[in-house]
């Protein structure tokens, strides 16, 4: 069998810009995006399982790959994806001035 063809996984060009206080924090967020995509895919796979089972079909891999979500199912999935992203982004996007809960609690303890 021929050697598999390997894709490139890094683009030529300037260094990735830095966004948060350290490049490692940026990398951690980017890893979380990949992980969140997988969590979302797992959730949709489970949903497909349940829908196939409800229709009396065994949820075997070929049936899962062949499943085409009807419009209303896709709309519900899109809403779930949006909610997941919203919950992740809340912390990422909160301004410095609003990160007060811990400090305020510390002050109360004094």
């Amino acid at each position: 069998m021929a050697e598999p063809i390997k894709r490139r996984r890094k683009a030529n060009g300037p260094r990735r810009p830095q966004y948060l206080a350290s490049p490692d924090a940026d990398r951690a967020v980017m890893m979380l995006l990949a992980l969140a995509a997988e969590v979302s895919a797992l959730r949709e796979r489970l949903d497909t399982h349940e829908r196939l089972a409800a229709a009396g079909q065994p949820p075997l891999p070929a049936a899962i790959d062949a499943y085409e979500a009807p419009e209303e199912v896709e709309a519900a999935r899109a809403a779930a994806r949006r909610s997941l992203i919203d919950r992740m982004a809340r912390v990422l996007l909160e301004p410095e001035s609003e990160r007060t809960t811990a400090a305020a609690n510390d002050a109360r303890d004094d």
Partner: protein, 374 residues
């Protein structure tokens, strides 16, 4: 809007489609959700704060940058958009890689049915393309991974659909349809015989030109061989007869006065200014008397500093180093320098086919000496 399953489009498993869908949702969240929020935050919070400290709103792009980079909303937005972009190519790339040998075979078989493809392995790759993979797409449009490779085309065709969360239409031809429609809108009775699409990529803007002018002979040129092999296979499998060739738009092998229409769609903003000027000169050489040149691109930089700053985002964050410079183009003057008559320049405001957009397509007609049409 789901993508049309033409024979060359990659086939994805349930989970690959679900990952794509998540990435499309991330794109939609940042572009439709966060982007307007950034503007509101800038107007309502950052401008008043700057005015209170400095006695005036931020009046230049550099001042806007300083203000924005102090905002977690902006840095978080930028990280999300950049992170999504890298994830997009790697995720779709995994699905393309898995089926690449079969795709290469399908593309070759489709190409054999109609149209032509002429590659030039000796064509030098300009430094501005070799040094930077635009859109942070690994390998760019030009890297061959294997003999007869189509990876870049397959990656871009699926990737740009996810990127635009379907907004470019089932055939990713939103912008190309607008380019072609702009010719018809401006010159309703024009019947071109030969058409050239410069920087044709996967052919997303080439096929709409063939649709708009079904009797014309349509050519597409691009620097990238894997993109062209895919484009030729895709066009043939969709029933189009197109002539693709690997050529540099700044210096093609076509004879003088070859084409009635020369178009480009989102090409110029990826080129440095000297190359843009060379494209204009080459168009002047290639156009027949009375021919039409048009470029669908961002040829005017916004005056307003916030908009200009955000327009330049891709320059730094999406490996599009020349985007900002393309906004300094003075289209009529630069056309005149290339030999065109500046008074013949026109701009068409062309509504989108699928999106609520109005595209600015800049062009010129009747440019060669003695070739002015009534």
């Amino acid at each position: 809007m789901s993508q049309f399953h033409h024979p060359l489009l990659i086939q994805e498993t349930h989970d690959e489609r679900a990952r794509d869908a998540f990435i499309a949702s991330l794109r939609e969240y940042t572009m439709s959700g966060l982007y307007p929020e950034l503007r509101r935050h800038y107007d309502e919070v950052l401008v008043p704060r700057h005015a209170a400290e400095h006695g005036e709103p931020p009046g230049s792009v550099d001042k806007v940058r300083a203000v924005m980079e102090s905002s977690q909303l902006y840095t978080g937005y930028s990280l999300l958009v950049r992170g999504t972009q890298e994830l997009l190519w790697d995720t779709v790339g995994e699905a393309v890689e898995r089926q690449l040998p079969a795709l290469i075979e399908r593309a070759a078989a489709a190409r054999a049915t109609r149209g032509t493809l002429e590659l030039d392995p000796s064509l030098p790759l300009p430094n501005y393309t070799a040094a930077v993979d635009i859109h942070v797409m690994p390998g760019g449009f030009h890297t061959d991974l294997a003999p007869d490779d189509v990876f870049a085309g397959a990656l871009y065709d699926r990737g740009v659909h996810v990127f635009a969360f379907g907004g470019l239409g089932p055939l990713n031809d939103e912008l190309g349809v607008a380019t072609a429609a702009a010719v018809k809108r401006q010159f309703p009775d024009f019947a071109p015989q030969k058409i050239l699409d410069m920087g044709c990529g996967a052919g997303h803007a080439t096929l709409p030109l063939a649709d708009a002018f079904p009797k014309a002979e349509v050519h597409g040129v691009d620097l990238g061989a894997p993109m062209l092999r895919y484009a030729a296979g895709r066009a043939a499998s969709l029933g189009y007869t197109i002539h693709f060739s690997q050529q540099d738009a700044t210096q093609t092998r076509f004879p003088d006065a070859s084409f009635d229409v020369i178009a480009s769609t989102l090409l110029l903003h990826e080129m440095p200014r000297p190359a843009i000027l060379a494209v204009l000169r080459e168009c002047h050489r290639l156009l027949k008397p009375g021919g039409v040149m048009l470029h669908h691109d961002l040829l005017r930089w916004p005056d307003e500093p916030f908009e200009a700053f955000m327009m330049a985002w891709t320059t730094r964050h999406n490996n599009e180093p020349y985007e900002r410079a393309s906004g300094t183009l003075n289209f009529p003057e630069d056309c005149a320098a290339a030999g065109f008559d500046r008074d013949a320049v026109f701009v068409v405001a062309q509504p989108g086919a699928y999106l609520e957009e109005v595209y600015q397509v800049s062009g010129i007609r009747g440019a060669r000496k003695g070739g002015r049409l009534p």
